[in-house]
Every structure is written in structure tokens, then in C-alpha cells.
Symmetry: C2
Subunit: 464 residues, 2 copies
Amino acid sequence: MAEGEHLAGTEEDREESAYALNPQAVARMIYAVDIDDQALLLKEMAELHPADIADLLEQINAFDRRRLIELYGSEFDGDILSELDEGLRQEVIGLLPPEVLADAVRDLESDDVVDLVEDLEDHEQEAILNALEAGDRLAVQKSLTYPEYSAGRLMQREVVMAPEHWNVGEAIDYLRDQEDLPDQFYHIILVDPRLRPVGNVTLGKLMASRREVLLKDLVEETFHTIPVTQDEADVAYAFNQYHLISAPVVDEDDRLVGVITIDDAMAVLDEEHEEDILRLGGVGDESSLSDRVMTTAKGRAVWLFVNLLTAILASVVIDQFADTIDQMVALAVLMPIVASMGGNAGTQTMTVAVRALATRDLTAQNALRVIRREVAVGALNGLLFGFLMALVAGAWFGVPMLAAVIALAMILTQICAALGGIVIPMGLSRIGIDPALASGPFVTTITDVVGFFAFLGLASMVLL
Amino acid sequence: MAEGEHLAGTEEDREESAYALNPQAVARMIYAVDIDDQALLLKEMAELHPADIADLLEQINAFDRRRLIELYGSEFDGDILSELDEGLRQEVIGLLPPEVLADAVRDLESDDVVDLVEDLEDHEQEAILNALEAGDRLAVQKSLTYPEYSAGRLMQREVVMAPEHWNVGEAIDYLRDQEDLPDQFYHIILVDPRLRPVGNVTLGKLMASRREVLLKDLVEETFHTIPVTQDEADVAYAFNQYHLISAPVVDEDDRLVGVITIDDAMAVLDEEHEEDILRLGGVGDESSLSDRVMTTAKGRAVWLFVNLLTAILASVVIDQFADTIDQMVALAVLMPIVASMGGNAGTQTMTVAVRALATRDLTAQNALRVIRREVAVGALNGLLFGFLMALVAGAWFGVPMLAAVIALAMILTQICAALGGIVIPMGLSRIGIDPALASGPFVTTITDVVGFFAFLGLASMVLL
């Protein structure tokens, strides 16, 4: 895990104290780069945490980035690479002299090295692996054999364990004798003779107990082991649900192979949320603000293309009623309102459903109740806004039957939007497709098609 | 901190092991309630973590919930209340006999009690406070004097501290002598004579060092103090950014008043994300699937009403071109495509912008660059989809000028969508309004109005 400098703010910048990087500081560092003053740059950057330096590199342009890294030179720390956006890592690694890269990587814990190299191209991966000592290299290579996004990739292999029959004194003496304890650890993991974890003892309890107390009498009530192949999203869920601080990772024989700590789980949770938000917004898996314009445009075009097909389908529906519109142009004026309100209601329900599926609040147990509830909400709001729009349309065009038609169409569309908004994410999730990714286009298709069809269809029957 | 039972799964339910609650288990518990068999219910529930029990209560209906709580009786644990959705807490607290409630609450740490009572009505708050011992009650009341959503509400007041001049041996002896250490703590906080925190020593380092080593030689490099009035979102950000495990909270004189641990920060991060996703989806601050239909419908209606105004505005724009549409009904067929594609592109950019503002990746430093980049992406995709739609419209209606008009309108709308999608969230954020909450309606208004105006306006000029 990354470690840096003292971050407590002075009186003046207390307001900014959650975050060390501010525009003035960035400007001073760019100035140091501009006048090629290494001493000034190092002084300005000395206060920054590697996470702040990574943010700095992300926020400046490619030209400044290259010059800054050159001037910063051998000070470059491995933790900066870990903190950097994946989209920029390759660029920055390419800018580092081989010996600086090697030094930087050697300081990292094995889980951070794995995180660093897993997305690199083969020759870059090799360059980094070769910089490691033999033991560390083997550990990283072993981790890379586990599936992507699995607990095996996330865990660190350095564990602190003790036989289940030990007492507090034996454990403390053992810890005192260790040369190389992990940077951060919070529990001693008790294992049976076959190396299967059987309990966690917090260091606080160890500390507060007399030497002759047995470790097994101090184990935490909540104890959760994680299969090495478990998806990292499930790992993050378990940490969040059960308030875990660290958890042992076990292989298929239930033997201890590593440990995952809450800060790694928190990072995964953060990534999962980012993925959900971006996917719901129709942005797919865009990685960062530093991506090239062409890459970003391409990624978004895929989504826009799906939307284009949906929109054309809706237009085909409208085209079926071209004669009706020709006879009453007010229909063309009003029809986007019906579709837009349906789209909004569908998005509302879909958002709630996607979130509830992610947090496992929506399950087989309460599915029917939730569907009934959403449809009821849709019907209520359909009645409300149908009534409102009837007033508006009546006053605007002075045709009472047009008011009745738009009211009825609104009610129908709102109900279908609610139904689609809940059933589509549930169905996608059931067949193993991420509902955040794929629900949007389906829901929009339903609300557009139903909206236009209901409004124009009713109008063609009633008004002409 | 919540603590429960052993959660490691057996071989058979390894698949489910991230999560203990499954439909079969729920069915068995409901069966136990149905046949009024307390022994069976307690047996089934013995394996469950309080977080799982809270989920169980959220997923069953109100009738089963009441019967289950009655049958579960005095086993009811305070941590279950902490884990429960805010929307349900009031209901469940009302179902608990006073003595069970009092017992449940007395087991909780002060930060959990604060979290529990802060949203309750006065008389319920009083009932819970009266159940506490005098010391705990004072601590909770003190915390409630801090602003809502501040570090002061989040922190626990139980801290483990030591004078900065102590050595390892003195610290260990002190810990041994303590009767009542917090359930979970990870650092000893070093304080100066005026109780100002000056550093953190991890228990691991304390454990691994000889008795005569000075504590101040063991402090962590990364040390971050949190002002007691800091917003909880900033607290969560700092934990995530700097990989903090626990951080001391200080008052306006920089004196230690409490400590925040990473699990609380993780919970806040989770809530912030939930808020962002729901607000971006136009659902405002809907609290849970257990809310009543009327409450939910009302909350969503506010949003739909804003959308209605936007949609009516767009219709007014269309109405200006009623004559044009009257002369060429193909315009009515195609116009929703232009608006819909604009809306989608605007939502994409807005989602990226809102997320980047939340993670502080989008700053004054790179704002101009990001705006230029988004507009370039919008122009590229405008060209692409303008060209595509020209082909479709040309083939569909056989009017070359109509193809040219829709292409041009698409390009214009996509560029405006990109511009609005990035500038609106940034502007809202600058003036202190949550961009996730308010960007959507503005962006939609722009894309709808520009889309219809550009398409129909160009058509009226060129085609007729």
C-alpha cells in the first residue's frame, strides 16, 4: 500500500485538507518544469502523496507530463504507478528509464505489482517482472495464473499466521522475531495443521491479553474465508456487507494462500460503482479523461449506434401514422412529450432496479412485490401526468378528444415504462448479462415504441 | 462494529459464500414463523450475521416482518438496527418491546448509536437515549451537536492514544492494563501534551518492535487528521485517496476528539455512489425498496414534472414549425431521431463529467482541455451519425435535400450535446449544486430544443 508524507493541512488550507493537490500547487510545479529547476520541483512535490502525484500526472497535458517525469527523475516511486489511471500507465512506464522503473517496482507489495502488470503488453510485463527479485517474481507470476478480476489477483501473498494451539506469548515472540512483516496487517490468522484458516485474532486483542491466554479464545466472531477464484465484485460485497477488515483467501483444498485487506476491497467497490454509473450513462467502459479523442469517440459510437436503431424503430412506428399526422399536425407537436415522459419514468425504475440488483436488495424473494410496487407507482404517476397533459393539450389546441387521447396514452406508457424498467434489468441479470450495461436500450425502445404507438394509434381511432 | 457468526461456507454452498442469505434459507425461516416454532427460527437464524438479518427483514413483507420480530424476541441485536435500511428502522423500532430495544442499543458503539438515532423522531430518539448508560448517552448527545453528514457524526469517541514520548514497552503495558479497549482499533494515536495528534503507530509495528524503541520512531509516513466539521463525503474521499485505515478527528484547536475507521468511510463511499447513481437516473433521494408506493410516486413525480416542462418547451419549438411539418410529414417521422441521438450523446458526456467531478479528476487545471476533447468527440460522432442518417433518410424518403438537412442537424445537435454535457455539470458544481442531481434536465432541454430547432428550422429554410 502506498505511503507518503504528512498530509495534515495548516490553518490556511484547512478547507482543502481532504485533498492536497490544488491549482496553485499545480501551477508552481509546472513553473518549476518550465524553468527546468529540479530542486524547486522536488521541494514542491515532497509534500505530495503518490496518489496526488498520480492525479497531477493525469491532469496536466502530455507535453508537461513528459518534461515533469524527466525532471523528477529517480525520485519516481512505484506507488505512483499503482495510483495512476490504467489509460496512462503504459505511457508513463514508457517514459521511465529502465533503472528507475526497476527501482520503483521493487518497492511494491506483490498485489500492487500484479495490479500493475496485468494490463500491460507482454514485453513491458517482462521488463517489470525481470526487475523483481526471484521470490517476488514467482509470487507475481503465480498470482497472474488466477483468472482476471478474481480474489487471487487481488490478494497479497504475504500472510501472518499462527498454529491454532498457540497462546498470546508465543504469537508475540514469533512476531518480534520476524524480519519482514507485511507493511499493513490487522489480524493473525489461525491455521490448523493442514494450513486451513480457522479464525482471526485482531492485533488489538492480542495486545490487550495476557501471555498465557490461548489464541483460539480470542478469535473474532465474524470470520469469512474467500475462495481464490471468487469474483472480486463478490469479495468487495462481502467486505462491505460484513464489515471485514481483512480476510484469508483459500485454495480449492481450503488452504491459506493469501490475504485481502479492506483497502483493496474499497478500491474494487469504487471501480464497480464507476462501471455501473458509466454503463447506465451509456458510456460503456471508458477508462479515463486522458484517453485519446478517437478512442473515446469510437467507444461512445457503439452505444449511439444502438440508440440509432432504437430511434429508427420508433420512427418506423410514427411513419405508420403519417396520414393521421398529416390530418392533425398537433399530434406531431405533442407526441414527443408522451415518449419523453415514458423514457424518464423507465429510466427511474431501471436505475432503482440496477442499483437494487447490485446491492442484492432485489432478490427472487421480493421480486414480485417489487414489480407490483413499481407498476403501481407507474400507474399513479401516469394518472397524475395524464391528467396534467390533458389540461395542457386541451387548453393549447382546444380539442377535447385530443386531451383524452394524450391522457390515456400517458397512462399506458407510464405503466409499460415501469414494467419494462423493472423486468428488463431483472431478466438480463438472470441470464448473466450486466443489467447496467444493457437495460437502457431495451427500456428506451419499449417506452418510445409504446409511447408513439399508443398516442398516434389512439388518435387515429378516435380523432379521425 | 457489527459482529456475528462464522460465515465460511461448506463445500455445497461455496458458490453462495459471498453471501449467507439464500432463497431456501429465507423460505425455511418464513416456515418457522408460519408454524410459530421459535426453536426452529432461532436455529435457522443463528448462522446469520446481523447484516443478513437486516436484509432478511427488508426482503419479506410487513406482515411476515412483524411476526418474525415477535417470535425472534429478545434475541434481537442492536447491530441489526444499524444494518437496516433507514426507511425500515422506524417501523422495526416500533415493533420492539422497550426492554428488547434498550438491550439492543446498549451493545452498540457510540458512532453506531448516533447513526441510528439521528433520523428518528424526537420521542423515539429519547427512548433510545434513555436506554443508554449516562456516559454513553453524553457521548451520543455530544456527537449529535455536530452538523449532519459531518466527521463528528461519523467518528467513534473511543480512542486509543499515547503520549509522543512513550516507548513500545510503555504502550504495551498501558494496553494490557486497559479494561475497555474499543472492539476494533488499528493504530495508537500519538498526541502532544495539548492532546493534538502527531502520528499513528500501527499495532503491527508496535508488536514487531523491541520494548525500548520510541513510538515516534515507528509512526506511519502517511498521517492525515480530519477536522470534526468536515463533510463525510470528503472524509470518504480522503480514506480512498490515501488508503487510510483509521484517522484521528480533531476539533478547531486541533485537539483529538475521536477516530474514524475505514469501514465507516467505506459505508459513506457506498452511500455517496448510491446517491450519484439515483440522482443521475432522476430518482432523487429515494431511500429503499420498502418505501410506500405513495412516497415513491411522489418523489419521482417531482422529477417527472421537471421533465414535463422540458418536454413542453420542446413541443413549443415544434409548434413553431407546424406549417412546415404540415407540408412535409416526413419531418415529423425523422425529428425524434435527431433529438434522441442528441439526448444520448449529452447523457454520455454528462455521466463522464459528473463522475470525474466526484473523483476530482476534472479540475480547473484540465477543464479547458476536457471541454475541447468532449466537443471534438461530439463533432466526430456528429459527422459519423449525420452521414449514416443522411443515407437512411435519403433511401427512406428519396429527398436528397432532406438527407442533407438531417445530417447537418445531427452534427449541430451532437456538438451542442457534448458542450452542454460537460459545461452544465461543471457550472453547477462551481456554484455549489450537486451536478448529479440537476444536470439531467438542463442537458435534455438543450438537446431537445437544439435538435428540433436545428432540424425543423433548416428544413423550413431549405426544403419549402
